[in-house]
Symmetry: C2
Subunit: 324 residues, 2 copies
């Protein structure tokens, strides 16, 4: 059965994940409208889409009700990826940045959807909602105890989505992302990969590693992240679907340092650990995701965490080459 | 060991729960400051405290940063009870009322605490954070899937509190309340008891009951609610303590109708059910709370749900008499 063309709105569509999603949707014939304030997204990420039939770009902020209302016109489904991409809280930062850009922005989006009668929403949440868990592998029904402002405001967004879903008869897919890597290189909210490449370019002999290097997290390649979302929108049929999206294994920060050094052709790099179990305040040092709910609807990752990271390192090094 | 006197701030301290808490704290020698915008609280509730040593009342809103900063001066512990008391969403209402009065207000409070170096927080959350569960009895580690804006914004507040607790080294007690009844009669956010009394005064022959009357919820008398909070602040020693606070049994709406009619001396009242399993959109029709975590620190309820409700009915009827 051929899928009917849909009119999709992607918030944060100029970002690293959103731009890949936009290309995938356009390639299958959907019309794509993007709302992005370009605070971290980049217009260049959308180069392949400019001039494509049905493609529209609106430069605007989710907190701007007028831009939101305009963006929602005649939309079938919203992919809500816009967020503050910087997971870490830096002392001295205002503490309401995530609240505004994640939670309040999500409420505004939901309200605009309700007003316009748009009933389907796909949301990029985060495994940061779980916080620090003693379970070997975290499933969607395990306790949510976020320890960062980022995780807390993602959970708050999830909760608002659930209430709107129930009160106003929406259908929603909430994905709790692993660390998404690969594809376009982030310019803000730098990943551990970008951090190591940057540091080793500055000093190829010694590498500072935050924490004790034993932090171990689940990774997922951006292409598989986008594929997983689209698969679940098709196959997860509840009113409210909450799904972990990541590899079921994990990878230590120390191993990532090894992989980056190897890819850069560096041998004998001395590691200097800042110490302690967490990389920064609010960091969740170790987790693995239980992805059996995604498996139950027929989705599997192709790459494991290490393969995803290796590919991302290659892309990052290549992209940096291109910039010279 | 005698407890040292503390300087307490109670937000929403002129409300039905807050005013009872204020009296209890003052009676044990704590100095009590109240911040309340009197949107649902009433100054008369504090009559017994006026002129007591250390008692202060600030009429102000949590969303007013200046009032908050003033209220936080030299405080040891904050009891944060202020909230939109009306759990139901009425179609046509703005959808951001709970977001503002629960979540954004809580963030402002946390930020004011951080700025002033106040490190202990007691928060009145709600069993509404659980949403509709298939468990016979809900424990604190069970999934949270709120189905109302009230429940969603309470969960959002919990999440922010957890993040601040972790990032800024606070100690916090989050209580997921059952339905709190008894004591002073609510003028806003009317309970099922007040609703039935009101309707039976208008028409003592027939009573409209929302839903099918089989909704069954956990109740707790306000005196035991306040006692439970104070007990846990003393005995629950984690950085972040999340505790169900209620009776472990539940009571049907139909049984409450019987109890109200009996207390009013009415026989043969005809019940007319509006039908359907839920009383209103966002209602959680059936739940029982697992309170073994409170039991583990030595707390037990004296009244069960029915006894709490019977006492509350008596107080409501008495209070109404007084008003004539």
């Amino acid at each position: 059965m051929a899928k009917e063309m849909e009119r999709a709105l992607i918030t944060g569509g100029a970002g690293c994940i959103g731009s890949v999603l936009a290309e995938r949707l356009a390639a299958r014939g959907d019309s794509v409208r993007i709302l992005d304030n370009l605070s971290s997204g980049r217009r260049e990420h959308l180069a392949a889409l400019e001039g494509a039939p049905g493609f529209e770009f609106i430069e605007g902020d989710l907190l701007d009700l007028e831009a939101l209302t305009q963006a929602m016109h005649q939309i079938d489904i919203v992919y809500h990826l816009a967020a503050n991409p910087d997971i870490r809280y830096t002392p001295g930062d205002p503490t309401d940045k995530d609240l505004r850009q994640n939670t309040i922005a999500t409420h505004g989006l939901l309200e605009a959807m309700r007003a316009a009668g748009v009933r389907r929403l796909v949301f990029s949440s985060s495994s940061a909602v779980y916080g620090v868990s003693d379970r070997s592998s975290i499933s969607e029904t395990d306790p949510v105890r976020p320890v960062s402002l980022y995780g807390a405001t993602k959970l708050a967004s999830e909760a608002l989505i659930g209430a709107f879903q129930n009160l106003f008869g929406m259908r929603c897919w909430i994905f709790r992302f692993a660390n998404i890597v690969g594809g376009r290189v982030r310019t803000k909210g730098r990943t551990v990969i970008g951090d190591f490449i940057h540091k080793l370019r500055e000093n190829p002999v010694e590498l500072e590693i935050l924490g004790d290097g034993q932090q171990a997290k689940s990774y997922l390649h951006v292409d598989e992240c986008v594929g997983g979302m689209l698969h679940a929108v098709e196959h997860a049929r509840s009113g409210l679907n909450i799904l972990n999206l990541g590899c079921s294994d994990n990878l230590t920060v120390r191993r990532i340092a090894d992989l980056v050094a190897m890819a850069m052709g560096l041998a004998g790099v001395q590691y200097r650990f800042t110490g302690g179990p967490v990389g920064w305040p609010g960091d969740v040092p170790r987790f693995r995701l239980d992805v059996t709910a995604m498996a139950a609807i027929g989705w599997r990752t192709v790459r494991n965490s290490e393969q995803a990271v290796v590919e991302a390192i290659g892309a990052s090094l290549g992209a940096a080459e291109c910039k010279r």
